[in-house]
């Protein structure tokens, strides 16, 4: 159910996510403490290659990582297997990727 490829994908995305999560939390605290308005935040993210890359990579890693994690839970606790399990893995991964990519696009480029 979890072969070497999926295991590696999950470990590597965890490695990518670790600093990004810390960065994300730091930014959230900073934005709230400083009392930045939505317009001010957008002013800093719009057109920023850095924030596009930061959250773009974050969304990519989260989609892969969460899809594999939920796959394991669905199999061990829910008894899902075979094509249904693959379908769930892909649905979660692509769903998160689409939602996340839209959000990243909206705050950096759109």
């Amino acid at each position: 159910m979890l072969d070497l490829k999926l295991y590696m994908a999950q470990r590597l995305t965890a490695l990518i996510m670790a600093p990004l999560v810390i960065g994300h939390i730091a930014v959230m605290i900073y934005a709230i403490q400083g009392g930045l308005s939505a317009a001010e935040i957008l002013g800093r993210t719009q057109g920023s290659v850095f924030w596009f890359a930061f959250y773009g990579l974050f969304v990519l890693a989260v989609s892969v990582h969460a899809a594999i994690g939920l796959r394991v839970i669905a199999h061990e606790w829910g008894g899902l297997k075979g094509p249904a399990l693959s379908a769930l893995t892909w649905a979660v991964g692509l769903g998160l990727l689409i939602m996340g990519a839209r959000a990243v696009w909206a705050v950096t480029w759109a």
Partner: protein
């Protein structure tokens, strides 16, 4: 020897295949009594049709493992007074395996997984070649030695919650043997082993919950052996990519 005043209340799983129920026996309590003594007393004194398995009675053969009050144990080396709760015992066949009859679990799936994990000897030479010297001081040999005393009792496999939730998972015993062979100078199956433990039922399914290491009666550490396999397969895959 004088029987102690109190009798043991022993619930024993009776049945064939998937159906069955507990049957309760009163067994005289004795000094220095093992769980296997209790089961044998029932079979000899109360019900000769009780089916169970044992051979050596000294913790070498690995055939007497059963669930005792919910925990997998080698019954020939388990003292009743250490595991009974209010003078009661609940004895069942090993978890995570099909039941043949009463206390006898079908160990075929367990041993089939040893073969699937390539946890078998891959010879490197013939009888005409000189014997490969074994250097006991190398880290590889020490890793192999740490896991080599497995008696195939199935206790780690019965204790493993990952096996319970994921029946295709090869399990701690087979993977630990794959790990000892991977580190064995006399085994030539390196690539075959790495591939076998990297499949969909392989070592990467392990969540490191550690019940195998907690309950192994020989105090081996399959969890660390599996961690070793994860590391080694990961490294090997990265190297393969680089060399490709």
């Amino acid at each position: 020897m004088v029987a102690e005043a109190q009798n043991l209340k022993v619930s024993v799983w009776r049945g064939t295949g998937e159906t069955g129920e507990f049957e309760t026996f009163d067994v005289p309590s004795r000094e220095s009594q093992t769980v296997l003594d209790v089961v044998s007393w029932i079979q000899q004194q109360a019900d000769p049709t009780l089916t169970y398995r044992f051979a050596c009675r000294v913790g070498m053969c690995g055939s007497c493992a059963m669930m005792v009050n919910g925990i997998p144990r080698w019954t020939c080396r388990t003292h009743v007074k250490k595991v009974s709760e209010n003078n009661t015992l609940r004895i069942e066949p090993l978890r995570n395996m099909p039941v043949i009859k009463d206390l006898v679990a079908d160990m075929d799936p367990f041993f089939d997984k040893w073969v699937s994990a390539e946890a078998l000897h891959h010879p490197t030479s013939t009888r005409n070649d000189a014997i490969t010297p074994v250097d006991a001081t190398t880290p590889e040999r020490q890793a192999a030695d740490a896991g080599i005393e497995c008696i195939n009792c199935g206790i780690c496999y019965a204790a493993c919650d990952t096996v319970a939730g994921n029946p295709d998972y090869l399990g701690p015993a087979a993977l630990q043997r794959a790990w000892t062979l991977l580190n064995d100078a006399k085994d030539g199956g390196r690539i075959a082993i790495l591939d076998a433990v990297s499949g969909s039922g392989g070592c990467h399914n392990c969540h490191s919950m550690g019940s195998c290491t907690r309950y192994c009666p020989n105090e081996l550490d399959p969890m660390s052996a599996i961690a070793g396999l994860k590391r080694e397969t990961f490294r090997h895959a990265l190297r393969r990519k680089r060399d490709a």
